[in-house]
């Protein structure tokens, strides 16, 4: 078939979109993913996405996932599944583990699309079985079709917290409440309304004091916080829950980018430490591109567009697309990206992304 010219590490929204774009332009692309099938977080997202028609509004994540897999296959993208990239070395060399044997290979172009991991929130009793990430809950209920418990407390009222609360209800579990440390709800109003209509109280300025239980979570104690973030005496409430879901943000999974020597910027609006990149999604290292949540925590739609941008740029770098053709297509993608980074939710990310580009240009 021909030696791989582009290795994409991570077969989620961004990785698959990048692979499809590059393969359609004629490049030989292989996607490496540690799971037994690609798709990343898409298969957990059973709710309908927002956005314009171009961003497949009204479609569920699962459907987008299936469509991407099909398009990748049709475009001739190769995949190496159940394979972990354990290291990245100078000269764009990757170390892979597949089953019990290892392999080292070099690649002209590497696209890192390793996504994000859930943040942890440490509080007394947080190590008890029954305390888990909200994403973990989502995996269990939407992919494994098992309930982690019967009654949950959700910590965090961002989009993930609101959406997973609703999905818990759909799956047949009960949600006692959502507690949010801030005095306001961080997620979209439409998600919050849905959750409230279903009878779940959203308690802002509240904290979880501790989780209690013998061998697993049996209770959670929550309390109101004052303006100095201290629990207010007398407001402690005991909730009879067996599950506590932590929806306190995501951080880029950037170990490989750090290992490779990419330059990073610290941008809270994008999840913390983010590898800098230019408007072609190329990192501070020539031939290594970044896309998706790795390049800053956003959404599936931006992940796919960034993936496309990286794929187009990679194909152009290899000579499969002329400067004019590539630039024309890239402009379209960049316009769509800009359209996704507007409004009160998008502004912060737009500003942070510009900062990333600025940092990339610094020498």
């Amino acid at each position: 078939m021909g030696k791989t010219e582009i290795y994409v590490v991570g077969g989620g929204s961004a990785g698959m979109a990048a692979a499809i774009e590059a393969a359609r332009a004629g490049a030989k692309v292989t996607v490496i993913d540690e799971n037994e099938r690609p798709g990343g977080q898409l298969f957990k997202q059973i709710h309908k996405f927002f956005g314009s028609g171009v961003h497949r509004a009204g479609t569920r994540g699962v459907q987008i996932g299936r469509a991407l897999l099909k398009e990748a296959e049709e475009a001739g993208v190769k995949t190496r599944l159940n394979t972990v990239v354990y290291g990245i070395y100078p000269g764009k060399r990757l170390g892979l583990i597949c089953e019990d044997h290892t392999e080292e290979l070099a690649s002209p172009i590497i696209i890192l699309a390793t996504g994000a991991s859930e943040n942890a929130l440490a509080f007394t009793g947080w190590t008890l079985p029954g305390v888990m990430g909200a994403g973990a809950t989502q995996t269990l209920i939407n992919i494994n079709r098992v309930l982690p418990g019967r009654r949950a407390l959700m910590v965090g009222a961002g989009n993930v917290g609101l959406i997973v609360t609703y999905q818990l209800l759909q799956a047949g579990a009960d949600v006692a409440a959502i507690v949010e440390g801030l005095p306001y709800i961080g997620g979209y109003g439409v998600h919050a309304s849905k959750v409230r209509r279903a009878g779940v109280p959203i308690l802002t300025s509240h904290t979880v004091l501790r989780a209690e239980g013998n061998e697993s979570v049996e209770r959670a104690v929550i309390a109101l916080m004052d303006e100095k973030w201290q629990p207010v005496a007398g407001t402690e409430e005991v909730l009879e829950v067996d599950t506590i879901c932590l929806a306190v943000g995501l951080s880029p999974l950037a170990e490989l980018a750090w290992m490779a020597g990419c330059r990073f910027s610290y941008l809270p609006a994008l999840g913390g430490w983010v590898p800098v990149h230019d408007e072609n999604m190329e990192s501070s290292l020539q031939g290594i591109y970044v896309a998706g949540d790795l390049a800053g925590i956003e959404e599936a739609s931006t992940a796919m567009e960034e993936g496309r941008l990286a794929g187009l740029s990679a194909a152009e770098a290899l000579g499969y697309l002329s400067l004019e053709v590539a630039e024309a297509r890239k402009i379209e993608v960049r316009e769509r990206l800009a359209a996704l980074r507007i409004g009160s939710f998008g502004d912060g990310r737009a500003i942070a992304k510009r900062e990333l580009l600025r940092a990339r240009c610094k020498k």
Binding site: V84, V85, Y86, G87, I88, Y89, G95, I97, D100, H101, T102, E103, E104, S117, N119, A120, L121, A122, F123, T124, W126, T127, G156, G158, G181, L182, G186, T207, V208, L209, R210, A223, M225, E227, K228, W229, Q230, P231, A247, V248, G249, S251, E255, L256, W258, M259, F264, Y266, P268, A269, L270, G271, G272, W273, I297, G348
Partner: protein
């Protein structure tokens, strides 16, 4: 939730997003590194001895050296280090990332070493 960084900074929490729930900040027995069972007390102890970097905290407490290689506790440790030494988070780079990204059985590790020689 990401907006809370700025919000908390304005309220005087120098490090921004704490990672350790505010109610548990004084609970020194709180486990921070789940894999190695390193507590907040352990981390504060090495800080009181003069440690100021993530690498040093990892080396002296073993936080981040367990099976998950710091994937879960990294941010929590940074939050504590930031709070206790008054260094902003943007000055605390994560501890050095070295291969392998995943803890592997010894047999596989030795094969990797041979491949790289």
């Amino acid at each position: 939730m990401l907006q809370s960084c700025d919000h908390l900074q304005k309220l005087g929490f120098g490090s921004g997003l704490p990672g350790v729930e505010i109610s548990a900040m004084k609970n020194d027995d709180l486990v921070i590194c789940r894999c190695e069972e390193v507590t907040q007390a352990d981390i504060k102890e090495v800080i009181s001895q003069g440690v100021t970097t993530m690498n040093e905290v990892k080396r002296l407490t073993r936080a981040g050296m367990g099976l998950c290689q710091g994937k879960t506790c990294g941010r929590l440790v940074a939050g504590i280090l930031s709070r206790e030494t008054n260094q902003p988070l943007q000055e605390l780079k994560p501890s050095t990332s070295r291969p392998p990204t995943r803890v592997l059985p010894l047999g596989v590790l030795s094969r990797i070493a041979q491949d790289n020689d």
